[in-house]
Symmetry: C2
């Protein structure tokens, strides 16, 4: 029987409504990996996915234990040992979502509005990983076979920086053996400008706590001679940046490799205007280091952000206390050659050096992730470009991604294979935010592109 990508594509279009319904079932499971209270839901999501793969005829489907949340594995090796093997990586875990963050509909009750699916995880990454499952299904249900062998490695800890994935890969190098790894967990600017990501930022995530008095104090009794920990915290964090919006942590930029003129020219192809940036984000004005373009700042330059602040009373009405403590979560997005642990040590030393003796400070590392940079002239990368031309209907650009997929560096290092990041999301899907959504048209075109990509890889 001939293996036909045309038939597979036609099948995927005919079955689109069912595919979306299946995705809804997957999205209903609140698989929040960062909160221990949701551990049973994380496992339920893994089991749902494994059962689904089993039902499609994949072999050796397993929910495999790690020191944290489990990994889902499944394979179809019917193309035989002479054909290449692609390893699809994705993640079934999600970040937190609460109605109070501004969701219009409950984040774990997916709904369709105006051609978009609204739910936590819709684009990051349940919707995008599901594309590859459905592409394989389309081949198997039409031709009974796919052009190459396919393995799935879907983890449950990406949103907490994949602490157990590197050891998992090291322990299962034979099982995972493949010629190329494909990941769909990134995005394009508009639906007609597909992008292949060849660089990702790394991450150092830390928490800082400033303490002063043993308990909260009455501000009338003790105010005036007590260094308010919330004040001390803002005084410390107010010194994270220089007035020119560069990061004030000594040594922070030391290991950053300067962008070449060629790279800057490529990045310029996808630059954002100030107007576009304001439109997409809603900010009153653009900010940052003005010696770099906006696209460079959000993808090729490192950052230091405050992700959370909390101290004292935030409920209704006044409460006249001096809080006993004040805390913040900080994270730094890193670029190639920056070492997350070295950056952590630099930030910690800086914070400690500017903390006055009137309070105490503790700095704690939460997670790290390595940055990654892939050569876009590799055959598997160029095959991906052709798959977009034929399957998506547009020539892709190679871009740097501002986000972090810590495992990308691990695949390259441990498996010695190229990692091809075919992001099927849109920049304004609102991932990690309230009202995260995913375009059903993107979902459909993604499945067709994934179908063509298997054919292109077979032809290499």
């Amino acid at each position: 029987m001939t293996i036909s990508s045309q038939e597979a594509r036609a099948f995927s279009r005919a079955q689109g409504a069912r595919f979306v319904e299946e995705l809804f079932a997957f999205l209903r499971i609140p698989s929040l990996s960062g909160d221990p209270a949701y551990a049973p839901d994380v496992r339920r999501a893994a089991e749902w996915l494994a059962e689904h793969m089993q039902g499609l005829g994949l072999a050796n489907v397993q929910v495999m234990e790690t020191a944290g949340h489990p990994v889902v594995y499944g394979e179809w090796l019917g193309a035989g040992p002479d054909k290449p093997t692609v390893l699809v990586y994705g993640h079934y875990d999600v970040v937190p979502a609460e109605m109070s963050d501004g969701w219009q509909t409950p984040p774990f009750e997916p709904v369709e509005r105006d051609g978009r699916i609204y739910a936590r995880g819709a684009t990051d990454d349940k919707g995008q990983l599901f594309i590859h499952v459905k592409a394989l299904e389309a081949y198997l249900k039409t031709s009974g076979a796919a052009p190459i062998n396919v393995k799935f490695l879907i983890e449950g800890e990406e949103e907490v920086s994949s602490p157990n994935l590197r050891p998992f890969i090291e322990a299962h190098l034979d099982l995972l053996k493949a010629d190329v790894c494909v990941i769909s967990d990134s995005s394009m600017r508009t639906i007609d400008e597909p992008a292949i990501t060849h660089s990702l930022r790394g991450m150092t995530y830390l928490e800082i706590e400033v303490t002063g008095p043993t308990d909260d104090l009455h501000s009338g009794f003790w105010g005036g001679a007590t260094h308010n920990p919330a004040l001390a915290l803002v005084e410390i964090l107010g010194k994270l940046y220089h007035p020119d919006n560069t990061i004030a942590v000594p040594g922070f930029y030391d290991d950053v490799v300067a962008l070449t003129d060629e790279e800057r020219a490529m990045i310029a192809k996808t630059d954002l205007s100030e107007a576009q940036f304001k439109q997409s984000t809603g900010v009153p004005d653009v900010w940052g280091d003005r010696t770099y373009t906006i696209r460079e700042r959000v993808s090729a330059r490192p950052t230091l952000d405050i992700n959370g602040l909390w101290s004292g009373w935030s409920g209704p009405g006044p409460k006249t206390i001096i809080p006993a403590k004040a805390s913040a979560k900080l994270s730094s997005r890193l670029v190639a050659n920056q070492n997350p642990h070295k950056i952590y040590a630099q930030i910690k030393a800086y914070i400690e050096s500017i903390t006055p003796p009137t309070v105490k400070v503790t700095v704690k590392l939460l997670t790290t992730g390595e940055p990654a940079l892939i050569d876009f002239n590799l055959p598997a990368m160029q095959a991906a470009a052709r798959a977009y031309e034929k399957g998506w209907g547009a020539t892709p650009v190679f871009t740097r991604g501002g986000g972090s997929i810590p495992v990308v560096a691990d695949f390259v290092t441990l498996m010695q294979i190229p990692v091809v990041m075919m992001g099927y999301g849109l920049d304004d899907d609102g991932l990690h935010a309230a009202n995260e959504s995913y375009s059903i048209e993107m979902f459909q075109r993604g499945i067709e592109t994934a179908i063509v990509y298997l054919e292109e890889l077979a032809a290499l």
Copy 2:
């Protein structure tokens, strides 16, 4: 029948255990005035107190409506029109308390440990106001009469700066008519150093919100070109103080009347050493404007404190967002001649002037309270000093209180009577904090001193 303070005092000692049990019942009602969800409990506390007064034989007992929480009124006018009348002011409302703040036992399930009562409101102000109720009861149950007339005005909004009390007083000047007002809602340094407060700080309480993007943003996609609202907030708040710990708001100190050498000498009598301050608060080091002593800083100088900070993610684990907004609650304790509304306008203008165009800021006034300063040579003040000598067993000092009882200025202005602040609390009772407590010995000595004070006022 002779009116005997000795018999009343003996009765109060004999009935001490019952008095504490009754106070427990009062403390069990979570009368949080700042949170609308607790409104029914606030009313329940008012009704409990009114019923209790009624049971003791007070006349004209009423739970009187205001635009907010009700006022409890009750009177005993049996001494007749030739005798003076004292108006006892107190408040039955409390500030919030949650186990997560570090309480060892539930804040609204009072317990006795080592001679102290642990509960929210134990010292502020249920325990202290109850002293006057029990002092009157002791006279009525022994002599059948008190030496002078007594009126009670117990409000339910002190902890939200008494927004409806001034209009209430204005509307009921005849009902409330008295020769002196006594308030027990302040404290002494140690049990053997009773203090009469002759000055209180005022208050300006405000909230600030910094907004940037429309929704929370993924820090990988947008980080580097977005002015993080939490960063902008800390940059703004980090400029509230000069490096010498004086407040940087232009004009802030303009209306403060300089302390005279005589006043500074009096304040020096109750000064705290750095060691004492650190011991009482647990802070690693003392802070503030070093041109003033510690006691001056916490009572005779204005402050600006951060009472709360909140932005983004504060739950477990990492969440890599740029928060859409960041907020803070700020309050300023004011001294005589500072106008709370003028101070609000100055702080608002300063914050707006240092907010960059990359974010938006809104500043909102929550509450205000006037500062107060009373002449301690008035007869009613000197009678209070004698009451401590005879009833408490120690000569009191006249002190400035760092806290705020906004209504004190109103009593002086509207009723033209002296306000005598006989605080029966201890500086380290932990009011407004976790594990607020009240010494049972203080409670007993307070009742006896209140009994003697009525006698001293009769003799004027």
